[in-house]
């Protein structure tokens, strides 16, 4: 008898707590459910319809859209391009930003100035940055080639030739991303205890050995964060490509996000089909980030 009344009291206390919890989370819950959860889940349904975005009526067509996605060579080309872009970005952006972070950390006085400068592009939208670079690629480089000797290696169609426009995209995207990664690497490097570095110096290790044997193992968690961030951002790449090449020439630099955007909002408006594509993209991103996180976490623990 006694225990059940205690339980009743506990239950009513829990119920009161939950009610108050619901009231406090309600505003967040409503906007979150409406603009994130519902779109995410209803997307799975729309992906199985022939909805074209305009008509009020549409019908359920099962997995037909997904079968079409599998056969859509343009989509897989854009996925392939995205993979290539992600791969190059993860390597280039992280090497450049880590190099800059290490170089800055060796300076005492000028550290602040350089950090400020290198982070600046990160503040500016890639739409603005992209158009500024467009000026360089279409005007400034040709000016250098025409007026100075020794710049002929720049004489390419930077925006019109698929091979070089890929390089152009990587340059601009790296320019925009490096500051953010550098800040994270710098914070991690500052966390390496001074005593360990000094001990390594006393043991006669040179700068190269000190970095790889002492500092690098200590900043592995920053590497995990940065690779994770680059992967995620790169898989969704849109702004840089939209402003620089628009996915062209033809479809040569079309990323998955650009391909989905074109499918849904340009020309042939096929929302149902485009949603099926975006579901496939989500699954790919999910699998890859899960693999990356588990692999890198395991490596970190081994050290």
């Amino acid at each position: 008898m006694k225990s059940s009344s205690a339980q009743l009291a506990r239950n009513s206390k829990t119920r009161k707590q939950n009610l108050s919890l619901l009231l406090f989370t309600l505003p967040a819950l409503i906007v979150y459910a409406l603009f994130k959860l519902y779109p995410a889940f209803s997307g799975i349904y729309y992906a199985m319809t022939d909805w074209n975005g305009v008509d009020k009526t549409y019908s359920f067509i099962g997995l037909q859209n997904f079968i079409r996605v599998l056969r859509d060579t343009y989509f897989w080309q854009s996925i392939l391009f995205t993979f290539k872009y992600v791969f190059v970005m993860v390597i280039v952006a992280n090497i450049v930003s880590l190099t800059l972070a290490v170089a800055i950390e060796t300076r005492r006085r000028a550290r602040g100035v350089f950090r400020t400068v290198f982070y600046l592009p990160n503040m500016i939208s890639m739409v603005i940055g992209g158009y500024m670079w467009m000026f360089i690629f279409t005007k400034v480089l040709y000016y250098l080639v025409d007026n100075f000797n020794g710049f002929s290696f720049l004489d390419h169609m930077w925006i019109g030739d698929p091979q070089y426009s890929f390089v152009a995209i990587i340059i601009v995207a790296t320019w925009g991303a490096v500051g953010y990664l550098m800040i994270i690497y710098m914070a991690a490097l500052q966390g390496v205890p001074e005593s360990m570095k000094e001990a390594a110096v006393l043991d006669g290790a040179n700068a190269w050995q000190r970095f790889w044997k002492v500092e690098f193992p200590m900043i592995r968690h920053a590497l995990t964060i940065c690779v994770f961030w680059t992967l995620n951002a790169a898989f969704q790449v849109f702004d840089v490509i939209y402003t620089l090449t628009g996915g062209g020439p033809g479809r040569a630099t079309q990323s998955a996000a650009i391909n989905i955007y074109e499918e849904a909002f340009r020309g042939n408006i096929q929302f149902g089909y485009a949603t099926a594509k975006s579901t496939v993209l989500f699954l790919i991103v999910l699998v890859i980030t899960a693999i990356q996180l588990s692999v890198m976490k395991r490596r970190e623990e081994e050290l």
Partner: protein
Amino acid sequence: MKKRSAISVGVYLFLILSALFTLAPLLLALINSFKSNGEILTNVLSLPKQINFDNYARSIEKMHYLRSLGNTAFLAVGGVGLIVLFSALAGWKLCRTKTKLSRFLLSLFIFSMLIPFSSIMIPLYKVMLALDIKNSLLGFCFVYAGLGVSMAIFLYHGFVKGIPRELEEAAAIDGCSPLQTFFRIVFPMLKPVTATICITNVLWIWNDFLLPLIVLSDNKKYTLLLSTNTLFGQYSSDWSAILSALVIAALPVIVFYALLQKQILKGITDGAMKG
């Protein structure tokens, strides 16, 4: 010692060249924004012969600069205001309540952080259409809140864990209602993490391009980036108009950065390390 200083010079040289490379697009845009198209053609690298604000007058008018700036500022302030208010309320209560429901709600908020925006943008477009907020800036603020609360709740939840609850309990005993306790006692204590959340979200909303691009159709509601993009489409070879537009479009974030540099860099580091 000699070898040491040689390395030091090398590192400096590397850093200075990288800094020049980093600043080149901005500097080239700036110096050429004062030139006529003819002058740009004859010499891109020289300083402008005269400082002439005609280009700026033209681009300010063409891109409806002040209106676009106002729209963007409205979205950033409104969106961030909602994110902070909603997430602080939720994050605090989620941390202080230890029930099955609280654990469920927290994981519900966090699990979607990995869903890429391009995966939800089409159904989201439909939701905004159905709610008739396609061209409503206020509606956009709520959409940004919906997209932003996950991360912010995660950060608030983590921060609240680290602050003692005695003060709240004392306030409750003194007869404060939970809401009063929140606004008088808790919210002021959350200031450091609120700063981080404000900075990261202002920058996100300010620089967001894809959502307005697909949803906004009324050009009176255009953001700075949309107006810049439209101008670029209309004047694709008129670089003196475009470059001046790019400079003034970049200006607000550069000023923001110049004023709040320390807080911004700290906020970015904190946000990244915890996220």
